[in-house]
């Protein structure tokens, strides 16, 4: 798994968490910590860029769910950017797609926060 956080937006009010590779039992902890680190900086607008994500386990899905919940509770939002077919199907299975918006274009995702 590779994970990186960057800031975008006029006032850098949006955090882009770019995660790729495999989120499994060995990497899920780091994934959780990274997301938690964004919240610690009082940032609750998150774009989760999963373009290169090939696998995510249920613990990883729980982190996404918790992050969505937490950002909503703090007047922010969590959006997903670019999900591959298999991951997209998985997000459908666990019904995340019902509540979390998925964007194909980064600009569009950024724009959605306004």
């Amino acid at each position: 798994m590779e994970i990186a956080v960057s800031r975008v937006g006029d006032m850098e009010e949006i955090a882009v968490v770019k995660v790729s590779g495999v989120v499994d039992s060995e990497t899920v902890e780091l994934f959780g910590e990274t997301v938690e680190g964004v919240f610690k900086e009082d940032c609750y607008n998150i774009i989760l860029d999963i373009d290169g994500l090939s696998y995510i386990n249920t613990a990883g899905l729980s982190i996404i769910a918790d992050a969505y919940k937490k950002s909503s509770q703090n007047k922010g939002e969590l959006k997903i950017l670019r999900a591959g077919d298999a991951i997209r199907e998985l997000l459908d299975v666990v019904r995340f797609t019902k509540i979390i918006d998925i964007y194909e274009d980064e600009g569009e995702a950024i724009g959605s926060f306004r």
Binding site: D24, S25, A65
Partner: protein, 587 residues
């Protein structure tokens, strides 16, 4: 009256062929008639030959319709064949002949008061009775239109000789036709009975760990040998799933039968053919009914024995030998009772040793107290049981020798390395080879059961989440190329879910406990089992019911949602410490 006629014919001018009918003629005609067994063809030929023999212009054959007391034209030449011609006995020339059982020659037909026809062209006529065993079966008629061809006494004799032969030929064809009709009817019924009998037999084994192949080789279309797998009802007293508070488990398996236990039986009714088949139907019905409710094999045989004696209290219906067992998937035990049946052969997969499953007990129906005993054996993986009826050991070769148990054991030993399907095929081939052209005296039923052989992957790991990736990669390697996995993500998700459950909830993170993983890869089916050393926990309750109303963001139910969505089957063992995942390839 007729004597007068003949007398008159004798004195009058002779117009008949001067040569008498030779024995050569009759021989030739006899050969011609014998060349077909078809009644209609024989009737036609009789008329044709009669016309030729007597140089007549017309001819007809009428057969007696016993019910209606009428003569019916069955074949004719020179007559209007479009209408059916019937004559009551006693009416007309033919009716007169049939009634008086005497031949008749008329030189001038129209002038005879017995002539009831309207065709003035008929001049002279001969009518002779067709007799079989002194009984009239019909009348053979010929007539001429030519005034110069007048039949006489000699013609009458010729036709009478011919008629005697023709009558036998016709009667034989009639008997043959009736026989064939009966035979066809019987065959049709037998085919139907055979289908019904086959439908009684069930070969579906409800436990995934047991494979079964079988064959029934009846000596006739139907027979008294039988075997079947008997699904047992779900019962909370015996079934862990059914007694569990979460009924969801059973519903998830989508079957009304117990998935962990089943009955099996093989038997032989002491009789052959249809009577045996009928008794077999009754007996299997009894066994199905008393067997479904999870009582013991011994109790089942006691009840079947009593019921059999109630139904067939006359000794002529004999008895039936039977082997009846319960297989329990939870501890791989076979509990059986034997009622005078050939002892099944147990082949130990690991050691290669074999033993007979012996047991005391009289055939069902023979004694008021069958003296049945119950025995339990534990089976190991790759163990094989050969169940059979005595038609197998009693198979005869052309020298009149029987196959016997010793030869059977040798055969079985030589085939032990084969897969059970190939094993049974080869066994059946060997029996046929042994028997050759010798007709087999008895039905043969064979059933082979096997506890699933070794897995393609067996892993044991400690309770450590860091092992999960290693396990998953090993499983994926094992299943490389398996068509059922469109995307490894599916298997990975399911497997990871189960491994986490086993470690966290099963072994309760106890580092001293282990997790066992087995994988069986078949061409279109991959079976993955995950077992822990915990005391067992309720997967379904833990994973929650994942209904539409469940909170999307709640962790509860997500794992089950994923596994249910991606795996083709998910089941758990009785203890609750083993989960089985099945992936199948789309056909």
């Amino acid at each position: 009256m007729s004597a007068e006629m003949i007398e008159r014919a004798d004195k009058d001018a002779r117009g008949s062929p001067q040569e008498a009918v030779s024995s050569g003629d009759l021989y030739r005609i006899g050969r011609l008639l014998a060349s077909t067994l078809s009644l209609t063809t024989r009737l036609d030929r009789v008329v044709e030959q009669a016309i030729e023999l007597l140089e007549a212009d017309r001819g007809s054959i009428m057969l007696l319709d016993d019910d209606a007391r009428e003569l019916v034209v069955k074949a004719s030449r020179g007559l209007d064949s479009s209408r059916e011609f019937r004559v009551p006995i006693g009416e007309g020339i033919a009716g007169w002949v049939a009634e008086h059982e005497e031949p008749l020659v008329l030189q001038d037909v129209v002038s005879d008061r017995r002539f009831t026809g309207t065709d003035p062209s008929v001049k002279s006529a001969l009518a002779v009775p067709l007799r079989v065993d002194g009984k009239v079966i019909g009348v053979l008629n010929v007539s001429s239109e030519n005034r110069k061809r007048r039949f006489d006494h000699l013609d009458l004799e010729h036709l009478s000789s011919f008629a005697d032969m023709a009558a036998v030929a016709i009667e034989n064809a009639r008997l043959y036709q009736a026989l064939r009709k009966d035979q066809e009817h019987l065959n049709k019924e037998l085919r139907m009975a055979s289908r019904i009998q086959r439908s009684i037999t069930s070969t579906h084994v409800p436990c995934a760990s047991v494979r079964m192949v079988s064959r029934l080789m009846p000596a006739s279309a139907v027979g008294g040998d039988f075997f079947s797998i008997i699904p047992l009802d779900r019962d909370s007293q015996f079934c862990f799933y059914c007694s569990s508070e979460v009924q969801d488990r059973c519903q998830n398996l989508r079957t009304q039968f117990c998935p962990n236990k089943f009955g099996l039986m093989i038997g032989d009714v002491a009789n052959k053919g249809m009577p045996a088949a009928l008794i077999m139907s009754v007996l299997t019905t009894i066994l199905y009914e008393v067997g479904r409710h999870h009582i013991s094999p011994r109790t089942i045989l006691n009840e079947a024995n009593a019921a059999f004696r109630r139904f067939f209290n006359e000794s002529q219906y004999g008895f039936a030998t039977l082997f009846y067992a319960f297989y329990d998937n939870n501890d791989n035990t076979l509990t059986y009772t034997k009622a005078g049946h050939e002892p099944p052969l147990l082949l130990r997969g690991k050691s290669g040793e074999f033993e007979y499953l012996e047991g005391e007990g009289f055939p069902v129906g023979l004694m008021e107290d069958g003296g049945y005993q119950e025995k339990t054996i534990r089976l190991e993986r790759e163990d094989r049981i050969l169940l059979y009826t005595d038609g197998l050991t009693g198979a005869l070769n052309v020298k009149g020798e029987i196959l016997g148990r010793k030869r059977l054991v040798e055969l079985v030993k030589s085939l032990v390395g084969e897969d059970i399907e190939a094993f049974l095929d080869a066994l059946a081939d060997e029996i046929m080879l042994f028997s050759g052209d010798a007709p087999q005296p008895d039905d043969i039923a064979v059933m082979v059961l096997e506890l699933e052989d070794l897995y393609d992957l067996t892993m044991t790991v400690g309770t450590d989440v860091r092992q999960i990736r290693y396990v998953i990669n090993s499983v994926l390697d094992t299943l490389q190329g398996f068509e059922g996995l469109k995307d490894p993500i599916t298997l990975r998700l399911c497997l990871e879910e189960l491994l986490h459950n086993a470690m966290e909830h099963g072994n309760r993170c106890d580092l001293s406990k282990k997790v066992y993983i087995t994988v069986k890869a078949e061409p279109r089916r991959a079976t993955i089992r995950v077992r822990d050393e915990g005391e067992g926990f309720d997967f379904m309750r833990l994973m929650g019911s994942a209904g539409e109303d469940t909170d999307v963001l709640s962790e509860r139910g997500r794992g089950l949602l994923i596994v249910r969505n991606y795996a083709d089957e998910l089941s758990f063992n009785r203890e609750g410490n083993e989960a089985t995942l099945v992936f199948t390839a789309d056909v």
